[in-house]
């Protein structure tokens, strides 16, 4: 994790106070190699000389715009970029993301969210040399290993089918929160057609047989009537 805090971060915004604020938050989080620029040309020269590892870009700059700045940066480096803009229209978002930005945030923003998103980007880009592993989590006495698609229960292994695996994956990503049956069907069957609800129920029952002590009275994989399902892990309780 500290390796990530070593990364060089470039902040580009025409408002000095915003630059100062973001820099302050980043420093507090433990980042210390921070560069700032207030306009297009400065930002470009910092990119060339300091080769930052990630950048937070504003879109409206006094001598150009963030979109063309990103295009210029992309011509010589693939560093991750997060747009932070007061322009929140859909077209701007789509344009920014379409140009290859890693994320797009609209002002006003909560600093915590900015830091979380930046960290997520950095982790994704710079921790990729570690083989990506799917999560392994505990439900009471048993362990669900999504990486090898098995449930370990009293030294016995129950393997998960592909559908059960993707249902559990989706539920785990939203642990403690209701996932609508539509979203689950979308995640598993991947299209807009409805009518999978009954099939989904069958799969959920099979999962429960593997992970619940008493599948008729589930405590981990709960049904939320009329809406969908919810996975209760230790952390989410």
């Amino acid at each position: 994790m500290d390796l990530i805090k070593n990364k060089k971060i470039l902040i580009v915004d025409d408002e000095p106070e915003i630059r100062e604020m973001i820099e302050r938050f980043l420093r507090r989080e433990g980042f210390f190699r921070i560069y700032t620029a207030g306009n297009f040309s400065n930002a470009l020269s910092v990119c060339r000389s300091e080769k930052p590892d990630a950048a937070i870009l504003d879109i409206m700059l006094p001598d150009g715009d963030g979109f063309s700045l990103l295009s210029s940066i992309r011509s010589f480096t693939d560093m991750p970029v997060l747009f932070l803009s007061a322009r929140g229209e859909d077209e701007d978002r789509l344009l920014g993301l379409g140009l290859g930005a890693d994320d797009y945030m609209v002002k006003p923003f909560l600093p915590r969210e900015l830091i979380l998103r930046l960290m997520a980007i950095l982790k994704r880009v710079y921790a990729s040399n570690i083989v990506e592993r799917l999560p392994v989590f505990r439900l009471g006495a048993l362990t669900v290993d999504l990486d090898s698609a098995v449930v370990l229960r009293e030294h016995k292994e129950f393997s998960l089918t592909a559908k059960e695996h993707s249902i559990l994956m989706k539920l785990y990503e939203n642990q403690g929160r209701i996932v609508t049956s539509d979203a689950l069907c979308q995640a598993v069957w991947g299209d807009e057609i409805y009518g999978y609800e009954n099939t989904l129920m069958v799969h959920v029952r099979r999962i429960r047989e593997k992970i619940e002590e008493d599948p008729s009275n589930p405590v981990y994989l709960l049904t939320v009537r009329g809406l969908g399902y919810k996975l209760m892990t230790q952390e989410s309780r």
Partner: protein, 462 residues
Amino acid sequence: MDGVIRILRRFVGSTILVSFLLLLFNLVLLGSLIFQENHKGPSPEAIVQKLANELVLQQGNYVLGHEGIQLLDTHQTWAMLMDRDGQVQWSERLPEDIPRSYDVTDVAKFSRYYLMEYPVYVWEREDGLLVLGYSKNTYGKYQIDFLVEWLRSLPVRILLLLLCNVALALLVSVLIGTRVIRGIRPLIHGIHALSKEEPVQVDTGGIFNDVSQSINSTSQMLQEKNDALKARDVARSNWIAGISHDIRTPLSMILGYASELEDQPELSAEHKQQAAIIRRQGERLRSLVSDLNLVSMLEYDMQPLQLKSIRLSALARQVVSDFLNNGLDESYDISLHVMDESLIVSGDERLLYRAITNLVQNSIRHNPDGCKIELKTGPADGVFYSFVVSDNGKGIPKEELKDVILLPYTSGRTRPNRQGHGLGLPMVERIAKAHQGELILESDRGEGLTAVVKLPASKVGE
């Protein structure tokens, strides 16, 4: 196009009617005006017959009755009786130049035409031929001969003549009609286009010159007005977008530092609370700013809809799940009734989600002591599907229902804003409208609020 043909039909019809009336009128005139003067009094044939009857032989002498004399006098005629050998036996007022004896050739000549330029008429009697002569230049005598064949086919010929007349009238009226229509058609097109507010440039010239000019100037005026209106809408929308944009940067700082202070471990609980209040109010301002922008874009049609097929039941489940996931207070009992899973509308998912969320949020905000909130999807009438959000809270007085969908501070809004920033329901109304649907509110004091969003049903395969 339909109108043009209708006009042409009417025109041709009335032209034919007019020609018929004209024909009839002419026939009547012909009878009354032209042929009326043909005979003054009885015809020559009638007179000669009468004379023949009046003339009697009395003791070897011919005597004309008193009436006969009078006839001769009134018509300025003369008469003679010729025996079978061509000798004149009796005469009355016979001019000097008329010979007194005739042979067969003479009789054959004059009986059909004139005798010494006197128009004469004859009547056969037992004892000869009575000849009635008028003065010179009073009657024209013409011999008309007909083939029997011709006479027999006369009715057919007359019918043919009439038909030809009708055809001619039709042809002429169609010709004239099309000429007029050709002049009118651009005008009609122009007026149709005017009603659709399309730009019109009608060819000026011809008989409808002034009308074309009026249409052109009206079109130009309309276009200019529309352009001005559009420019004003764009200006307003841009203005609001600009303001929203400019508010975002200072708001970033307020939110940022307030939440920073809130997390400072060395700050007293009271100060932390104050920081939390600043942050919460900042977040309210943030949602107001983005609502304001969205509402203004909807209001001035600046928001392009990103349409896709949306299943109403899935949308409802998403909204309810999100409220539950985000820690909805226990005092609100939110439930969902899906009548039909298959209801699909074509809409902008983000906007519809926003609309439904706003309705639920509205119920929550106006019933701080908690209430039951029910979401329902169902077919409405005809081509619309409905999405119903109802609560059993304190409701809105009936007389205020019209006001709550108006934008705050607009001229139509008579009552002060209710609590909240008042953009929630107007936004829902505009989102429904942008989807060619509508928002129907039913409520009264203490009766809860039922909001029905009607959305056009998506056709299968869209």
